[in-house]
């Protein structure tokens, strides 16, 4: 009887090879983020104009860019920053959005109204443009990118956390906790929060992908991370002008890396949802 969560997870991974694949990719990305900078063959910042725009070769696996930097090294080194931004913004919105959703769903009333209105307001913005405006107004620094990405995800977290909380607000165990002498906050944080945690984790995995895309989109527009820091979005933007001229690798590899990372988090989120979803847990 493999009734434990771990056993279930193992089952999901074996029954669903796609999730296993995503998990392997995820581990690879994490390793790249941690060890990437010390493993890459070239200095990601070192130019070499004599070898600019070289096609992929044994020397430069992913080719070189306009001023001869090694794209492979840059792509690998960028992992840390891109994942870092995404993870930080997701953590931020998880803390604030998740809590707001909990409170909103649990207490209802005016708290719910206020938080709902804030969410509505954010939702009424075209989200990417809102992120752009925030970064443009506050300056394109990494913390501001994190903040902007967090803000545009806020309504999503509020909604998910709120819906899950509302479902459990009337649950027997909530009453039981009250009977056991817990006050509202105690019930909320001690009883309800742990229960919605799995769903929130799924949400985090799914939004990681979106956060990466968003940060890269900002960089693509020119409002993201500053040059010459390696970052996938900037690299795609830089490479965009070389696609038609035949130097496809300048944009393709960072673009593919970006896509793979987002893909990985999305698949992982899906897989996690299967693990968490009680309907699949018979």
């Amino acid at each position: 009887m493999s009734d434990t969560a771990l056993g279930h997870a193992r089952h999901v991974v074996t029954e669903n090879p796609v999730t296993g694949f995503a998990l392997a990719l995820f581990i690879l990305f994490v390793l790249a983020a941690i060890f990437g900078p010390s493993l890459v063959p070239y200095d990601p910042l070192a130019s070499d104009t004599a070898n600019a725009l070289q096609a992929p070769s044994g020397q430069h696996w992913f080719g070189t860019d306009q001023i001869g930097r090694d794209i492979f090294s840059r792509v690998v080194v960028a992992t840390r920053l891109d994942l870092g931004i995404a993870a930080a913004s997701v953590a931020l919105v998880f803390a604030f959005g998740g809590f707001a959703g909990l409170v909103s769903g649990f207490f209802g009333g005016w708290v719910d109204q206020v938080i709902g209105r804030v969410s509505d307001t954010i939702m009424a913005f075209p989200l990417f443009v809102l992120a752009m405006a925030i970064v443009a107004a506050l300056g394109n620094t990494v913390p501001n990118i994190v903040l902007a990405t967090g803000i545009i995800n806020f309504p999503l977290y509020v909604r998910v956390a709120r819906a899950e909380t509302v479902q459990r607000r009337e649950a027997g165990f909530v009453d039981a906790a009250r009977i056991a002498g817990h006050r509202d906050m105690g019930v909320l944080l001690g009883q309800v929060a742990p229960n919605i945690m799995p769903i929130m984790v799924v949400q985090m995995s799914l939004t990681m992908g979106y956060a990466i895309l968003n940060a890269a989109g900002l960089s693509f527009i020119g409002l993201g991370v500053r040059a010459p820091t390696p970052e996938w979005g900037i690299m795609v933007a830089e490479g965009a002008s070389f696609i038609v001229s035949g130097e496809w690798w300048v944009a393709l590899f960072p673009g593919a890396m970006l896509m793979t990372a987002v893909f990985c988090f999305n698949l992982l989120g899906d897989g996690l949802r299967d693990i968490v979803d009680p309907r699949r847990r018979t």
Partner: protein, 537 residues
């Protein structure tokens, strides 16, 4: 390359069909222009106004002024190469004026306006129209007024409508730039009656002229969809030159440079304006298209070092930086060779012109030595560049950052969105700035006046203040004779080379790509395309 030539063979079917479909609806056109009389031009962005004199007009508005309005005179055209016709800044030819005569005392010039010249409205062009237009240029404020002033055209009283067809300009002072300045895109002539009639009470009819062409140039604006396209059609009654061959011009705004390149390479567009240097290099190399490459007169890409603030107020440090610049890398890596080197020249200028190669070149040993001499300890600083400079500014900045690191200079790059760039420069606090500047009027003293003069105009980005320099510039501007002019020019050139508040990198090319069937490409100081001479087929 084989792939592309194969592709080239594929005809642009997509284009042909809709044009046929469109024709019957175009009821206004009696005989619609044929495809050979229509030109499709793609550019990054189009005009934000139809009035070049108006405040806040963008660069492409020059093209509107050029094609839809006439000036009294234009620069004399002269062949540059087999693709391009350029101009002689020192010689003029008639446009709206059929002749002109400078007063013997040299205090005025009198123009005779072409008798047959008519506005689009059909009305004859009169001297009153010219006066109203020039009055407007010197009074409206903003860029137009500043540009007029650069040629000592400053007051409305200078302009006199002697009679219907005679017009006089009184000189404020002897200025060699006065006459050439009448040929740039600003002092163009409006149909003043129509403008006033539609002005809605505004003296200069700003709103009306912003949205309407009200003149007598070779082209009218048939449709203007800001941010999308501008469609020009020929004014068949134009008399100020040979009737243009093209009857219709469609100028589409295509922000993505690779799309513009794709369009021209696949033969869907006739002319592409403003491609990144890399694309031009490829197109030149491929040789299937005509590429016009003109070194932009008077212009350079440079790095400005803030001479007013530490640490770059130390001339040795500036020289060290000039010796450390990765010139060749920048030319190749950032401009793909599309530029004239401005380094490695003799220690004194070889020619008295601008731009001229500076004596610096990449020599890290000399740079280190000068750095040591300067006594400046390793430091961190910021390098600003315009986000709009796209694929040029950023690699240049990255290469500079890398090249200066060995000197102990740590650089943070700061890409500024186009709109803020000017504001940042206005603050005069930026330690290092990558920028490009070129004056319309191609005289060395003109460039130096704007950039090096102690009156600290916005373009004096390094905030360079040197009374000796100011004296030399002022002396050259109003030099009574050739010899004294030459002496002073040599003087400020040498001083500029020694003090290096600006480290010139390259003189850029103005590159335009066009189909082989396109002829008659004309280059003007404003760099916008002139449709009047273009031919197709």
């Amino acid at each position: 390359m084989k792939r592309r030539s194969f592709l080239k063979a594929a005809p642009a079917i997509a284009l042909a069909a809709p044009a046929i479909g469109a024709a019957p609806r175009d009821a206004a056109a009696q005989a619609a222009p044929t495809r050979n009389e229509t030109l499709l031009l793609v550019q990054e962005y189009g005009p934000n106004s139809l009035d070049m004199q108006g405040i806040g007009s963008s660069q492409p508005v020059n093209g509107v002024a050029l094609n839809c309005y006439d000036r009294l005179v234009r620069f004399k055209r002269k062949p540059f190469d087999d693709v391009t016709t350029s101009f002689d800044i020192k010689a003029l030819e008639p446009e709206l004026a059929e002749s002109w005569q400078e007063a013997s005392d040299g205090t005025s010039v009198t123009f005779k306006i072409r008798a047959d010249a008519r506005f689009h409205s059909g009305r004859s062009v009169t001297a009153r129209d010219v006066k109203w237009s020039l009055d407007r240029a010197v009074s409206i404020g903003g860029f137009a007024t500043t540009q007029m002033a650069a040629g000592s055209l400053e007051k409305a009283e200078q302009f006199v409508a002697v009679d219907d067809k005679t017009f006089r300009v009184d000189f404020l002072r002897r200025d060699k730039l006065t006459m050439p300045n009448l040929a740039v895109t600003i002092p163009f002539v409006f149909d003043s009656e129509k403008a006033i009639a539609n002005s809605g009470g505004d003296v200069w009819a700003k709103d009306y002229l912003k949205n309407n062409i009200c003149g007598g140039g070779a082209f009218k604006v048939e449709a203007w969809r800001p941010g999308t396209e501008t469609i020009y059609s020929r004014f068949d009654d134009w008399k100020s030159g040979p009737l243009p061959k093209l009857r219709r011009i469609i100028a589409r705004d295509i922000p993505s440079p690779s799309t513009r390149r794709a369009l021209i390479e696949r033969g869907d567009a006739d002319i592409s304006y403003g491609l990144p240097p890399k694309d031009f290099k490829d197109l030149v190399d491929a040789g299937r298209l005509k590429v016009s490459a003109v070194p932009v007169p008077n212009a350079i890409w440079y790095v400005a070092l803030n001479a007013a603030l530490p640490p770059f107020n130390n001339v040795k440090l500036r020289q060290a930086v000039a010796w450390a610049m990765p010139y060749e890398h920048i030319l190749q890596g950032s401009l793909f060779g599309r530029g004239v080197p401005m380094w490695g020249g003799p220690s004194t200028p070889a020619e008295l012109k601008w731009p001229v190669p500076f004596p610096y070149s990449t020599n890290i040993e000399r740079a280190r030595a000068l750095m040591a001499e300067s006594g400046v300890a390793p430091f961190s600083t910021t390098l600003l560049y315009d986000a709009g400079s796209g694929t040029i500014g950023e690699p240049m900045a990255v290469l500079i950052k890398e090249a200066l690191a060995p000197l102990g200079i740590t650089i943070e790059l700061n890409k500024i969105p186009g709109a803020n760039f000017r504001g940042e420069l206005n603050k005069k606090t930026a330690p290092m700035v990558i920028n490009r500047f070129g004056g319309w009027l191609d005289w060395p003293d003109y460039f130096f006046f704007w950039n090096y003069h102690g009156n600290n105009s916005i373009f004096n980005i390094p905030s360079y203040q040197n009374p000796a320099m100011d004296r030399l510039i002022d002396a050259a501007r109003f030099a009574p004779d050739e010899a004294s002019y030459d002496t002073n020019v040599r003087g400020f050139l040498e001083l500029g080379m020694h003090d290096v508040p600006f480290v010139p990198i390259v003189q850029p090319y103005h590159d335009v790509a066009m189909q082989r069937t396109i002829g008659g490409y004309q280059f003007w100081p404003c760099r916008e395309p002139d449709f009047r001479y273009l031919t197709k087929g």
